[in-house]
Amino acid sequence: MDDDPVFKALADPTRRHLLDRLFERDGRTLTELESELEMTRFGVMKHLRVLEEAGLVNTRREGRAKLHYLNPVPIRLIHDRWIDKYTEHRVAALADLKTELEESA
């Protein structure tokens, strides 16, 4: 429910790299993901677990395979909660500046 695990998960370059790999092609096995990283299988598993606990990766079983899916919803929530808020402020500030400049012109 809370943002901390998401920010922590995103604070690591390897984990961001894993998300980018899933963004390129979703629904991959650990073996597929591992082949693209210079890291032990255990290391990749550990990173995937952090991503899963933060809700950034969903897993589904398909037959014997465990497939990993990118879940962008927590990033969207951060966008809606944090980014929109500050960028809107900036837009409003620019609008104010425009009004002020135009009035003094």
Binding site: D26, N58, R60, P72, V73, R76, L77, H79, D80
Partner: protein, 151 residues
Amino acid sequence: MTTMTASATQVYSVFVRATPEQLWDAITKPEFTRRYFYGSVFDSTFEAGSKYCGYAADGGEQYVDGEVIEASKPNKLVTSWRALWAEALAAEPYSRVTWEIESAGDGVSKLTVVHDKLDDAPATAESVAGGWSYVLSGMKSVVETGKALDE
């Protein structure tokens, strides 16, 4: 920016401070859906075999065509899904959307949306890929705070 090939199976999830019954209402009732689902309302009895058609709330255009494949209130709703908001999408075959709702304890429920069977509907896969995040984030906001994202 890397390009993405939208996947034939997409899995989205979100935790919402609500009961499964409240989430079921949020998925099925027009007073909720029109506030987070691009203004859409869904015409259906939400029972297996019923149609599942999404319309613009202001009474016009149909955006989604489908049928309820399986319904188990308040935990599962499976529908076929054909997007009609662009000609290229409408020309593609039906895909499938599954809503799964499970209680996660402490008054929180986990909602998972699986959009699959998109293998022969690549344009639809591409088109819905960003949309589901927007929809689920918006639904969480409406259910938890009573406010839509743009309110």
